[in-house]
């Protein structure tokens, strides 16, 4: 009896504990870690000529991004990521700081509608909301992964999503009739907060509705509207920019090829409205893009064409990653005149601090030298023309070849009735040599070439002839398991003349800059990389960087760099 009572008491006490243990309430952790150090030393002619800059400079830090996930129940997850960072060279906490890097709440309502509050990553189409890649990064060899990971991670560039804050929700329904499914996604985000005596608050609202029909046809309607809130500022005029993109897609398999035909069409309006409702300036533009793609296991080929009106404006799709109105981290000021050093290929390839994290309401500055054909991605205004791409990989994936080309004409001439003809092309080869040769250790060779060409006829003043070429190569050889010796090259050359446009606050062309280019830039890299996994590795490398702008006596820089990075992404 006593034993029975003991067991009963034991049962009564444990039952609530056991039942509470059934609720999936838990806290779990993940995180990323990085240790980075670089040191640059002046070399070349500038070392002797420039007597005001230091002979060498560098910096480094250790950072841990600790992610905490709290799931109070099966429907909700609260996530925060806290960064603890310590700059090298400081003591007693003076160079250390703690930041909240991300904070979000995710959940599902009634097992039907998911929502996300706080930090979120958003993307729609290349014409409405899209974070397109930076210039000079196409076909970049994987041996430059350490730099690229750093830039993308520090700037929250995950694929072509923009990191924003606000509310996002989506749901989908499946049917059993002519409509297979309907998916809907909505978001409201605050792009720019209230600034004291500054610009108004900038919000972006958007949504996507995708309807899949049973006959392999799908229709999607995407809409975003970015606008400034009039009441949040003393400014007399506020901006608005609605963009709509309708997408049609049809897929069909013929023999062993999967065909996909897609059509994007839509338009934008952008303007500024005064408090009394008067429109100061408004412009509307349309776009159209069609692609026909065929794929199978070994090849992918596509042909397409696009038309983007000169007045098409989309803050979500035309905001650029590289911010040319910024100071580079390495040798920001140089020469005996202590000039601000312009952003170069070296900075674009290695420096996360020259990148932009926020949507821009006007067309951002760019350097024609590095991106003359599509400075605003696929949504670059004033372009019409066809494009082509082709990819091939052999049976055992030991060889991958990729090529693409695009030819555009301007729809309207800038400053002249003559129109630019713009051509871009690229070719990339990746070869796993251990599969193709007697080599036993894993050896990967990558090589690529990209070219941009701009031509315009007319008088001496109107004529443009500009050509740029980017050569990239990389070789990694596995010395023993997971330890690779890596070497790489990025070599850029641009030559010719162009006419840069100067725009006013409404992006209207108000002037020009006659530009001459004769520039060559190289980054040579040699080092070791140890991969614990694909995303956990350390890299120790030495770089030789040369910048030589022959149109200017002062635009020359040679650096020797030692770079170390430990990267851990979980």
């Amino acid at each position: 009896m006593t034993k029975f009572i003991k067991n009963l008491i034991f049962f009564l006490i444990l039952t609530p504990l056991l039942s509470s243990g059934q609720v999936a309430q838990k806290v779990w952790y993940d995180g990323n870690s990085r240790a980075m150090f670089y040191r640059d030393a002046l070399s070349g002619d500038l070392k002797d000529i420039d007597t005001t800059s230091t002979r060498s400079e560098g910096e480094g830090y250790t950072a841990i991004d600790l992610g905490m996930h709290f799931t109070p129940n099966n429907q909700i997850e609260i996530f925060s990521e806290i960064r603890i960072k310590n700059d090298f060279g400081y003591m007693w906490g003076s160079g250390a700081y703690v930041d909240l890097r991300r904070l979000s709440v995710k959940g599902i309502l009634n097992d039907r509608i998911s929502f996300n509050l706080g930090d979120m990553f958003l993307k729609q189409t290349v014409f409405t909301l899209n974070n397109f890649d930076q210039e000079l990064s196409k076909y970049e060899p994987s041996v430059f992964q350490a730099y690229r990971d750093l830039i993308e991670y520090e700037n929250f560039y995950f694929d072509d999503y923009w990191r924003m804050q606000g509310l996002q929700s989506n749901f989908s329904y499946t049917f059993y009739n002519a409509i297979n499914s309907v998916e809907a996604d909505f978001f409201a985000s605050r792009v720019r907060g209230v600034e004291w005596l500054g610009e108004p608050e900038l919000l972006m609202l958007g949504g996507t509705s995708l309807i899949k029909l049973e006959n392999s046809l799908s229709v999607a309607i995407n809409h975003v509207n970015s606008f400034e809130v009039q009441s949040s500022s003393l400014d007399t005029a506020t901006y608005y920019n609605p963009v709509t993109n309708v997408q049609l897609e049809y897929v069909k398999k013929i023999n062993d090829l999967n065909y996909k035909a897609s059509l994007d069409l839509g338009g934008s309006t952008r303007g500024w409205q005064e408090k009394n409702g008067t429109t100061i300036y408004e412009a509307s533009g349309s776009f159209l893009k069609g692609v026909l793609k065929a794929t199978n296991k070994r090849i992918m080929t596509s042909v397409g064409f696009s038309y983007v009106d000169p007045d098409f404006r989309s803050a979500g799709a035309q905001s650029r990653r590289v911010n040319y109105i910024s100071a580079p981290s390495s040798y920001a000021y140089y020469t005996n005149n202590t000039l601000l050093r312009p952003i170069s290929m070296m900075d674009i390839t290695t420096d996360p601090n020259v990148y932009n994290n926020r949507l821009s309401t006007s067309l951002m500055h760019y350097n024609t030298l590095y991106t003359a054909v599509s400075p605003y991605g696929e949504a670059t205004p004033n372009r019409v023309g066809p494009s082509f791409s082709f990819e091939y990989k052999n049976k055992d994936n030991s060889v991958l070849v990729s090529t693409e080309a695009a030819y555009y004409k301007e729809l309207i001439g800038q400053g002249t009735t003559e129109k630019r003809a713009l051509f871009s092309s690229g070719l990339m080869l990746t070869a796993h040599l251990e599969k193709l040769s007697p080599l036993k250790n894993k050896t990967v060779f990558e090589a690529s070439v990209s070219n941009e060409n701009v031509e315009r006829g007319g008088s001496d003043l109107e004529a443009i002839s500009f050509n740029s070429m980017m050569l990239s190569a990389g070789l990694s050889y596995e010395l023993f398991k997971n330890l690779k010796i890596i070497g790489g090259l990025k070599s850029f050359a641009g030559k010719g003349n162009e006419v840069g446009s100067q725009r006013d606050e409404y992006d209207q062309v108000v002037g020009y800059e006659l530009l001459d280019f004769d520039s060559k830039e190289d980054i040579l890299m040699l080092g070791l990389q140890y991969n614990f996994t694909n995303d956990i590795y350390f890299s120790l490398q030495t770089n030789k960087i040369d910048i030589d702008d022959k149109t200017s006596e002062i635009s020359q820089l040679s650096l020797s760099r030692i770079y170390f990075m430990f990267n851990m992404n979980l």
Binding site: A261, F305, G415, T417, S501, V509, Y512
Partner: protein, 330 residues
Amino acid sequence: MKKLTYLFLLIAALFISCEKDGIEGPNLNDLFGELNIIENFMIVGDSASFTSGSAYFTAKFSKIVDWKISITGLSSGAEKIIIGKSNEINATNSLWRGEVSLLPFFKEENCSVLLTFPMHSDTISDSFVINGAKNYGNGSELVVSDFENGFNPNFTNFFQSTCLKKIETGDAGQSDRFLVQEGTCDWDWLIGYVDYPANHWLQQGTLNANPDNVYFNMMIKGDSTLSPTNEANSLFKLEFYEDENQDGYYDQNTEDRLEVEFDVNWNGWKMYSVKYSDLILAWNSGGNAIREPNKILKFRTLLLANPASGFAKADVDYIVWSEGSPILNQ
């Protein structure tokens, strides 16, 4: 699938062919191109009489450019400036009816003509003969005095003992003669004043009753004298006395006085014009506070200067009432 491909190609061809006319932004040639004179600079209407006629200029350039035509009277020193931005000078943008930009007025005289381009060093010169000077006014003007017949003794006045008023010939704002007012007074702000009674104006008539339609115009010649504190030394004041009950007298307790004052901070002749409705009611004005130009009994011009600031000067010429707009616009 084949039909779809054809559709794609068709749409592509359609859009490739839809290039736009015109240009985006300013013309490159206008900003950076060389300036060439395609058609020579010509004067149409030389030896004109501006009492009824006009003249204009013609030229054609290789680009849109800022241009400036300066016509200077070789005898009077009067100057007319015509500016424009175009690739062509023609009757539309260079018509000249003999008016002046910088006083004095043009006379019957020879003029030099200069075409210049602010952003280019090119200069083209020519000459022009004026056979008849322009008559300002639209027919409704009333000239108070142009001092060509001397100083009207009915214009009562007072000038300090160390100051003077006199009629001088040559370098007048209009025609030949003008009234000099100048002096130094170290004990009072007043240099001197002149009253211009309506019944002694050179041209007699009644002004329009609408104060928005009546302008008082007066040529004043300033000098570059500055006070020790680097301010304009001469202060000019205008007082207008209304005879509201039309009894021939001004009573400050029952009638209005309107006034305006300003620094004479320029050098040379300048036409000062003020709309009657812009005049300020005097602080001790006792009338109906309605501006009634048709009831003006007289007006007074006062030259003032800080006693500590030394010499002051403001000469006067061609005092005229105009209707509808300032006299130089007519």
